[in-house]
Subunit: 173 residues, 6 copies
């Protein structure tokens, strides 16, 4: 279970107890998307998670994935940029194209066309990568809806995770 | 594979060939949500699919799930109402509450509150059902993003599926 | 009366009975716009009808004009593309420019400028044609408002019109 | 021709010269709606014209119909309220209900339901009146689209019409 | 007090009486922005006032600043263009760039980037001017919120100010 | 200068150097609003700052005022709720009414009416307080526009301010 690695059992697991079979299957798919084989680094996938969740203003997911990304990249300043307004984030051009696509797909999916996919290719992404970017974006449009629809609350510990001295050390691994 | 039951291999399977492991895991989760144990009938879950996809103006998903719902309920008029403007659909009050929630969660998830969940309870839905409604809604916010982001095209056969004489017979089962 | 040609008296005529003089005058204008002299074919004018009505999510008009267009062009697949998301429609570049203009004029008329008219000219449309495109777009912004404001219901027969075997034959003329 | 009564030939007549038959038929319908039999006074119909045009930010129609309404009611202050933000207008409750409906129908027609019509009835409007309110609203959604799509410019004289000393006298009739 | 120059005490001064110290400090800042040293003429600063207030549909501010601009430039036609749809205003390219920026900053500030500032530089504005344009835009996003939140009503005299014979003379200075 | 109390000179002061007189006057007004006499506590005024800035997705202001509020209330969890989705914040009913008003005034000021002011009164706020709530909301609609229009960057230190051990101690005062 990915979130357990963060050191505590988040509330989401309690909520999903209503449908344990759903949790199991969702989690298998989620784990593959977020940690399986991909040209996108785990941190890049979490960058999409943070930016999509901020776009959808999902309380649970912004808090949880900001923490997860701080743990992965040890860079609280970058996380702060991504979660407030990703246009301010110090990322490379390929990552910027990735995030532009994620936001457009989240906000107005019906306006996406071949030109948007072409922009990703020009930024250096291969077709498998584009598939991964679209799927991770889609996944957080799933989780944002579930969390916001059911009112999930993140554990308080998430707020400072990756920000305090010990955790910053940890984040260095 | 759920869509094969409709009689042909839709394009989506060809596209997902880039990431066969993703397809497999997504499909296991999708099948459980759409056809596993639930107080929501299969047709009610497809009603959510049609209405969410229409809200997001997802070409592939509107066409495919309108066909799927016509096959399940043999009622092309109801499907037409759901896919143009669900406020015109002849559904019972519990289904109307279910669809109101699905549309709000799709369009402005961050404004959903306990009052929206309370409205579902008042309409007669139990907590497990509300979880199912939220998850199916979330699932089509996933598939709509993937289909619109990658430009999936439905097979032409979907357009008339459930509308011609033979198929209407079938739909009667 | 245009709709009578489709084989039955649609509900709209019953509703308009409150103001028979309005109906008569509206109809004379509507007939001229939709069937009078123009470089736009009747099918192209119905394409605008379908796309504007879909943009405004007008139940009555989507159903009625999808049927009308299927009768005119015998191409249910194209109609399905136009009514879900016209960006997926297999139309020629001049028609695409025509529909882009119709959608912008429908959604955000105050942002239309000379550049939008120039784009139509570049696509090959003459000034009279641009006037016709704007008027037909405007007309369905009228009918969509009237139908949605008063809750018009299309006759059930519209749903399959142009889709069943006999009608497909007819559509072949 | 209604606008001639204002004392000069507005530009719209020159533009419509491309399609004189359209103008003739549109005008016959427009005249009937705006000046034919109705429980709505002519000024009330112009109130809808001003408020719908302001909602759509249509330059030509705001200017022309503000002038027309000032001529009819001799009340420049009320016109100013209607054209900036009708929520500030000193109108009676039935007129407020009429304008609320016109704005909802203009901005989000697909969300209109029987409840909106019921609110008009409660405010004292009969079915014929509701038909008239919806038609006049629809008409300005037509003219706003045509004027904004084709970039119509009002004659400069409209700006002060009904505001100068002589005209205020006239407005007193 | 700037508004006193217009010849009467507007209602806003009565309302601000609740917090006289706020009024005094706000007014000192407002006066400096609107009448202090700047490459923007006073009329150009009022153009921003009118266009931002129209974008936000602020009744009080549209009426008051339309009057103020008519007094400054003696051009009621231009004011009418700016307050209905500034895209129709006969302004020079640098002013158009200034207004495009003001509207984007008002409607969707989070999408503003260095490209928007670069467009202002290309139009000929220096850095101090861009600061002034942004501050005046920001100021009317302040006053629009205050006036609309508290329901301020302009004095009736504003409506015709700068339009009647005497005032037109005055405006000629 | 308020921000200096936080221990370092933020970038905003460098940017404002272009117009030192503007800064001085703005700051005098800002200080009075945020720290002058009011029934709103300083923390409540910063709550409005955080929520308005999050609504407008202003990078600089979210970061700076989240830090300022953490310093004032020593409650990073509450700040996290306010800056992601204030509907999740554990605040008392009067504060919730205050924030509901601030968000409506920020997002759609032209729809605010006497009913919104009445809701504040029912929540226990006096007229002076309502004036203060509206002014603080308006102020951050000013600063958000200025910061986003000019691309201000917060100092990196803001990100963890009020989160690390020493600062948490400090925050306890």
């Amino acid at each position: 279970m990915p979130l357990e690695r963060l050191g505590f059992v988040p509330n989401v697991l309690r909520v999903y107890a209503l449908r344990p079979r759903h949790l199991e299957l969702w989690n298998a798919f989620y784990e593959e998307l977020m940690r399986g084989e991909s040209a996108l680094s785990k941190a890049q996938r979490e960058m999409i998670a943070v930016v999509v969740s901020a776009t959808n203003r999902c309380h649970y997911c912004i808090v949880a994935h900001s923490a997860a990304l701080r743990k992965l990249n040890g860079d609280p300043v970058l996380v702060e940029q991504l979660r407030t307004n990703y246009r301010y984030a110090r990322v490379d051009p390929a990552e910027r194209a990735m995030l532009d696509f994620a936001v457009k797909l989240t906000e107005q999916s019906h306006r996406c066309t071949e030109d948007d996919v072409a922009a990703l290719r020009e930024a250096g992404w291969a077709d498998e990568d584009i598939m991964d970017i679209a799927e991770v974006t889609a996944m957080f449009n799933f989780t944002n809806r579930l969390a916001s629809g059911l009112g999930w609350l993140p554990n308080d510990e998430f707020v400072t995770l990756g920000l305090t001295a010990d955790q910053e050390q940890e984040a260095g691994r």
